[in-house]
């Protein structure tokens, strides 16, 4: 029997996600957990989210309660995809007790699950076990391991994100996951700290190319300034500017591959933004592209004109690493 619980996830919402040609109803859950073990990424605000008293027992109870809350509020039959995030890594045993991972798997059996984790927690046995638990044959790939690779440049990863991981480790994790029957979703972060607009564009184009062989899905997140992050400190000092939406379009246009992109906070000063006049239309185009994969939408949006385009072109060609950002 499922007991109703007051322990809600950090967030939980319904949406639609494209998986190949299909559009699935999806449920996104951000679980409260013990918190990220690494916990040092410059743009991450989840690192303040640490729950429980540190014992595996309390953590287990915490996760179980949240699963129950989800079941109570979002009937299983109303969605086909479950996207699981924590404040860190779903497969980090210190963060989510393995027993609870099993329980989650059992709960969402028959669905496509996307679960986020750092590469170092992609353990062949753990993944196989999870895949086995959810797979009822409905989907060829019932589990996608989502890894925040952010960039394929270890140099940028180190300095701009302080990710504490490498592209090589991602590739290993990808191999491990695939062997275990899971797919790989790579998250890339567009324009972390300390990059010029052009460096950020170049980084994404290169990263998408380089990550392609190792990822089944690629999602590019234009950086958004979260509260209580290092990025926010720099942003307040005028030392950081989120990417232009023009830049997002440019990257999406420049690569051959289908790339998911949800410009969270788009059009606001803390999120990817242009001048305010053209932001809305561009965001609409990107969102529609995310659902349809229709690259023409991106091409058309990139070809529109606005008074701010000249500014963006100037920034791309003149912003230099020693002196940036040129705009806010």
């Amino acid at each position: 029997m499922i007991s109703k619980s007051d322990e809600k996830p950090l967030a939980c919402w319904r949406g639609k996600d494209r998986l190949g040609p299909e559009i699935l109803d999806s449920l996104t859950i951000i679980f409260k957990t013990g918190g990220c073990s690494w916990n040092k990424c410059r743009m991450c605000s989840y690192r303040h989210e640490r729950f429980g008293d540190g014992t595996p027992e309390s953590l287990a109870a915490l996760v179980r309660d949240q699963v129950n809350w989800v079941l109570a509020h979002h009937p299983l039959e109303t969605y086909q995809m479950v996207k699981i995030f924590t404040s860190g890594s779903f497969f980090d045993p210190d963060e989510v007790p393995p027993a609870m991972v099993d329980e989650v798997a059992a709960t969402f059996r028959g669905k496509v699950v996307v679960a986020e984790t750092r590469a170092e927690y992609v353990d062949g046995d753990r993944i196989s076990r999870f895949v086995a638990a959810i797979d009822d044959g409905t989907y060829t790939i019932p589990l996608y391991i989502a890894i925040g690779l952010e960039t394929t440049s270890d140099q940028i990863s180190d300095k701009s994100i302080n990710k504490g991981s490498t592209f090589a480790r991602f590739r290993e994790a990808s191999e491990t996951a695939r062997k275990a029957g899971a797919g790989i979703k790579a998250y890339l972060l567009m324009k972390p700290l300390f990059l010029t607009e052009q460096e950020a564009i170049d980084d994404m184009v290169r990263s998408i190319e380089e990550v392609s062989p190792y990822a089944d899905l690629i999602s590019m997140n234009p950086c958004t300034v979260q509260s209580r992050t290092e990025v926010e400190q720099y942003w307040k000092q005028g030392a950081y500017r989120p990417p232009y939406l023009w830049s997002v379009l440019k990257v999406l246009n420049a690569v051959d591959r289908d790339v998911l992109c949800d410009p969270v906070g788009g059009g606001r000063s803390r999120g990817p933004h242009n001048c305010g006049a053209c932001d809305h239309d561009i965001i609409t185009a990107i969102n529609e592209y995310a659902l349809t994969g229709d690259r023409e939408l991106i091409r058309a949006a990139a070809a529109t004109d606005c008074a701010c385009k000249e500014e963006w072109e100037f920034v791309c060609s003149h912003e230099q690493s020693h002196c940036m950002p040129l705009t806010r």
């Binding site: 720099y234 000092q237 030392a239 500014e311 020693h322």
Partner: protein, 541 residues
């Protein structure tokens, strides 16, 4: 590249940047990509100004030219290189940090280094950049504004349609070319600021320019609050008028330094009676009609002390000293409460230090308020002699009557001026003042000791004059005999109290020289180039 600094005004400098045969007058705007060629092409090297020391140390690139300096990482800038304060354009909106970072950088970096602020200069910001010690700028910020369709003026940024409104007569405006206008506007403003810098009135310009931008006002005020820092860079005297045209003028380092020297250095004549007098528009006061009346009425029977804003207290003996003979203020008759309180504090401290048997306040209005508040603070009773107006017959008679029977004070202008200028207590017995006021020279036994520089109010000692000043204001050089001006690298050590414009005695094992400091002691210790002392006379020994 060598930066020959030719003139200074506070932190601001102007001079020649020389490399081989080519030279550039600074402050200047250059096209960075041609001036620095590809040496600024440093991908993935960004380190924000607010980055912590660890990040700065890990990621700042050393050994490249220009050298990137950072508030958290003292980088030695090699001789002949330019210091680039990367990302400085982001400091402009953070007044408190602007000043903190600036102080950190200015303390670390060699003084004769040219400073480059990339992408920071707009017609509306460049005065502040120059005033805080930047010398070299590029067109990035104005070009960006052009790309944004923004029209730049010293008064701020405007929509591009100002191009058609006749607010500027440059080539760009005539050709309807925004980019050309914006670049020309920046260059013109740099040169205009340079004119005020060379006149020694950059502060006056700053007090005007800042009013259209709250952050700039804040920078000015924060910087003024760092008196110990800015005072080092402030010349001891200027020939230009000191225009105290805003409330902020009162916080100028010159004013605080004046008050400080008045209270710590100045030695008044031995007098039991002080008479407090109003100031006059004409300077020095004693050349004004009103002061001629006061002087005639007092007739030497009291120590004359002028109560004035923004200086507070000017004893007659030092009325020629900068900026007492140089300031100009708007006169409306109203002294605001801040003014009154600050000045009363100075007067109270003065009266507490120098106790008079009687203090006569021959004052009215704001100056009277100052005196009354000061008397309250130090618990003395004032005698008031003004009836209607200080120069009226009745008032002067009352002053005369109040002084009836008082003994003549032995006035000693030279002692007063020497104490104020050199922090020295000199026995002036036997000295005679020659010349027509204010072109004075001081002799003893027919030998000249001091002469007055009437434009600055500074006393210039002869070697014999220097022998009466036991210590301080010495610049020590090595075993050479100066053939001309003394250059910074020739200075072994300098009294830390020396400021630009100070009279100094140069001492070396083989020579003595008199002269005037062309830079402060702080700068002498941190420069490889430039004139440290403009030599007047030299004497082998």
């Amino acid at each position: 590249m060598i930066f020959e600094i030719r003139s200074r005004d506070g932190l601001a400098r102007s001079g020649i940047l020389r490399e081989g045969e080519t030279s550039l007058r600074l402050p200047a705007v250059v096209d960075a990509s041609s001036f620095f060629s590809t040496s600024l092409d440093r991908p993935f090297t960004n380190v924000p100004l607010g980055a912590p020391q660890g990040l700065a140390e890990q990621y700042l690139v050393a050994g490249e030219h220009p050298t990137t300096v950072h508030p958290q990482k003292p980088v030695p800038v090699p001789d002949g290189d330019i210091a680039m304060v990367a990302n400085w354009h982001t400091a402009l909106q953070n007044p408190r940090q602007y000043v903190d970072w600036l102080i950190s950088l200015k303390t670390d970096v060699r003084a004769d280094t040219a400073w480059y602020a990339p992408a920071a200069a707009l017609p509306s910001t460049v005065w502040m950049l120059i005033a805080t010690g930047f010398d070299l700028f590029d067109t990035t910020a104005v070009d960006l504004k052009s790309a944004q369709g923004i029209f730049c003026l010293p008064e701020g940024e405007f929509p591009a349609d100002l191009l058609d409104q006749g607010v500027c007569a440059c080539q760009g405006c005539r050709d309807h070319d925004l980019k050309v206008h914006n670049r020309l506007a920046l260059e013109a403003e740099v040169n205009r600021v340079g004119v005020f810098l060379q006149k020694g009135q950059l502060r006056e310009l700053a007090e005007a320019r800042c009013r259209l931008n709250a952050a700039q006002v804040s920078v000015l005020r924060h910087l003024d609050n760092h008196y110990d820092f800015v005072e080092q860079w402030t010349p001891v005297a200027r020939t230009a008028t000191f225009k105290a045209n805003s409330g902020d003028s009162m916080n100028r380092p010159e004013v605080k330094r004046y008050m400080d020297r008045l209270l710590t250095r100045y030695i008044p004549p031995s007098a039991e009676v002080a008479v407090l007098l109003p100031c006059s528009a004409r300077k020095p006061y004693s050349r004004s009609q009103s002061h001629r009346k006061f002087i005639n009425t007092v007739a030497g029977r009291a120590h004359e002390i002028i109560i004035t804003s923004p200086l507070g207290v000017v004893p007659r003996e030092i009325e020629l000293c900068y900026p007492a003979a140089h300031y100009d203020v708007p006169v409306t008759g109203y002294w605001d409460r801040e003014e009154v309180a600050v000045l009363a504090d100075v007067l109270a401290k003065y009266l507490a230090k120098h106790q008079y048997r009687r203090v006569i306040a021959h004052l009215e209005g704001g100056a009277m308020q100052v005196a009354a508040m000061a008397a309250d603070i130090c618990g003395i009773t004032l005698e008031c002699t003004v009836r209607d107006h200080p120069t009226s017959g009745g008032s002067l008679s009352a002053l005369d009557a109040a002084l009836a029977g008082e003994r003549r004070v032995r006035s000693d202008q030279i002692k007063g001026m020497l104490s104020f200028q050199f922090d020295a207590d000199v026995d002036t017995a036997g000295m005679q003042v020659r010349g027509k006021f204010p072109r004075l020279s001081v002799m003893r036994n027919r030998r000249p000791l001091f002469s007055l520089d009437t434009t600055t109010g500074m006393l210039r000692p002869t070697f014999e004059g220097w022998s009466l000043i036991p210590r301080g204001y010495r610049v020590v050089i090595d075993d050479f005999v100066p053939q001309g001006d003394i250059l910074a690298p020739g200075v072994l050590s300098a009294d830390p109290v020396i400021r630009e414009g100070d009279e100094v005695l140069v001492e070396g094992p083989h020579a003595l020289a008199t002269g005037r400091a062309a830079m402060g002691a702080f700068e002498m210790a941190r420069s490889n180039h430039g004139v440290a002392v403009r030599r007047r006379k030299v004497m082998k020994r």
